[in-house]
């Protein structure tokens, strides 16, 4: 029982960071109807930014953290401008977007390998590895921070989307870009906003993962997990992305805890295939219909 609770806590912490990444996929998908595979690259860059801000510039942790998020947001917007905007302007079929996304993703990864190098980098210890003790449970400081920061970001995001004018405009554009243009909504600005938000959260997730594990050019591969979570929850749905991520995080830690971590990825990918076969729209996928 104690072990189970312990695993749940770890799973919740991992799952909440998956959620930070998954909402980025979902937001872009909801507006542009394609999966932005360059998202993983942005997460990796966020991890590197945080690392260099801490080690080269010796910035205080909070500043480095925020700086990494802002840089990641700017780069996500840059990728949109360079790789997707020209396609949007030509109303290109969605396959072109996917190919462009893969190209951008490979470019980012190889750019980092060529300039920074393929080696692993370890974040400096920002705070002690000594876990909190809660009765018989050990709760890692880093895990706690991952959960708290992710939860705050996600709550802020959901507030923004559900209760602000800009958030409503994003929802309207997700539903029908033409109609929202007719309302005077600048849909290009909506796209920029969505990429900036997704990039910002990706930067945060990158730093958190960098601290938990290490930083290397393929760290963006972790986003495949968050992508699975986003599909599981229902692409295009924010609550879906969050719930899917938390479930996946918990499932993974339980599996590595009770069986072995060898099985972990096997199970996540099987989950993806099962969802795609039996419920392609996911738990809460968008299935809004218009009445004639």
């Amino acid at each position: 029982m104690i072990q189970f609770l312990q695993q749940m806590i770890n799973g919740l912490s991992i799952g909440s960071v998956y959620a930070l990444m998954a909402v980025g996929y979902s937001l872009v998908y909801s507006i542009m109807n394609f999966s932005n595979f360059a998202h993983g690259g942005i997460i990796m860059l966020g991890a590197y930014f945080g690392f260099f801000f801490l080690t080269l510039f010796n910035w205080p942790f909070a500043v480095a953290f925020l700086g990494a998020a802002i840089c990641a947001a700017a780069l996500a917007v840059l990728v949109e401008r360079v790789a997707y905007k020209p396609l949007r302007m030509r109303n290109a079929p969605f396959l072109y977007f996917i190919i462009s996304a893969m190209g951008a993703s490979m470019f980012i990864e190889n750019f980092v390998i060529a300039t920074i190098g393929p080696t692993f980098k370890t974040y400096p210890a920002v705070f002690s590895r000594e876990p909190f003790r809660l009765g018989p449970l050990f709760i890692g400081r880093l895990d706690t921070m991952m959960f708290v920061i992710s939860a705050i970001c996600l709550a802020a995001l959901i507030y923004f989307i559900d209760f602000t004018k800009m958030g409503k405009a994003i929802q309207a554009t997700a539903f029908n870009p033409r109609a929202s243009a007719l309302m005077g909504i600048n849909t290009d600005l909506i796209v920029i906003t969505v990429f900036a938000i997704g990039g910002f959260l990706a930067g945060i997730a990158g730093v958190l993962f960098g601290m938990k594990y290490t930083v290397y050019p393929q760290i963006g591969f972790i986003t495949i997990k968050s992508f699975i979570a986003a599909v599981f929850g229902g692409l295009g749905s924010l609550p879906g992305a969050v719930i899917g991520s938390v479930i996946l995080g918990i499932l993974e830690t339980l599996i590595s805890g009770y069986f072995s971590s060898q099985f972990r990825d096997l199970i996540s990918f099987s989950l993806l295939i099962i969802i795609l076969v039996f419920r392609p729209i996911g738990l809460m996928g968008k299935s809004t219909e218009e009445k004639a």
């Binding site: 029908n176 033409r178 109609a179 243009a181 005077g184 219909e289 218009e290 009445k291 004639a292």
Partner: protein, 246 residues
């Protein structure tokens, strides 16, 4: 107020509008009638900036319109699109507020919201409901209300009566008259030629991307060729009631 000159629009190789000239004066209801595929929606979408023209000019209140949708809304032109396109995932009230997206005057928005609820009491009752759960007629009212929320000078209405029961069609056309009375200018595209001609001041007939006839609506409704091609199954002139149950 609005002047369209020699407008040519292509979709790839399809020449959809072949040199359109029309004008709309302040306070008028002008209708464009035409069969399926004549190019009516294309014309409205070009005015709204959703579709680019290859040739020609669109002048609104004396200045050239830049083909950017949100600039055009800002200038005072709004379109109520064919098929309504309400935001089904948002509430009725949110839909209406999105209509006022570019406005900053909170008081004016509030006043206009009340005006829209007065015009469409149905919407007031359903403020908190998701727009996707409304009936077709209610969605049309919502689309028109949403358009009014931008406080436009010129409203472009694309087939507002499409797919509605006859009694609702009457309501919609009565509302169009009401909208004119509150000082809006209207460019109305319709397939229901009889209704459109009885409501409008002036009319144009669009056939295969060309204006083939223009004149006072009252004259066109008596025109034998128009009667033959567009008023064949002359609709019953139901008397207008301003509010009917659905």
């Amino acid at each position: 107020m609005l002047k369209v000159e020699n407008l040519h629009v292509y979709y790839g190789g399809i020449h959809a509008l072949k040199g359109i000239d029309i004008s709309v004066e302040k306070g008028e209801i002008v209708t464009i009638i035409g069969a399926n595929g004549a190019g009516k929606s294309t014309l409205l979408n070009t005015i709204s900036g959703l579709v680019r023209s290859r040739e020609g000019r669109i002048i609104f209140k004396g200045s050239l319109l830049r083909p950017v949708p949100h600039h055009i809304v800002m200038k005072g032109i709004c379109q109520v699109p064919e098929g309504r396109l309400v935001f089904a995932n948002l509430t009725v009230k949110d839909n209406l507020l999105l209509g006022a997206y570019l406005r900053k005057d909170k008081k004016g928005i509030k006043k206009d919201l009340e005006k829209v609820y007065e015009l469409f009491p149905r919407l007031a009752e359903r403020q908190k409901q998701l727009a996707g759960t409304l009936s077709g007629g209610e969605q049309q009212m919502l689309a028109m209300g949403r358009g009014l929320m931008s406080d436009p000078e010129l409203m472009l209405l694309d087939e507002p009566s499409l797919g509605l029961a006859p009694i609702l069609v009457d309501t919609i056309f009565a509302v169009i008259q009401d909208i004119k009375k509150i000082g809006k200018t209207i460019l109305l595209v319709e397939q229901n030629a009889y209704k459109a001609l009885s409501t409008a001041d002036r009319a144009y007939v669009l056939e295969q991307g060309k204006i083939v006839k223009a004149g006072k609506a009252a004259d066109l409704i008596e025109d034998p060729t128009i009667q033959e091609s567009y008023l064949g199954q002359k609709a019953e002139a139901g008397d207008r009631k301003s509010e009917v149950g659905f």
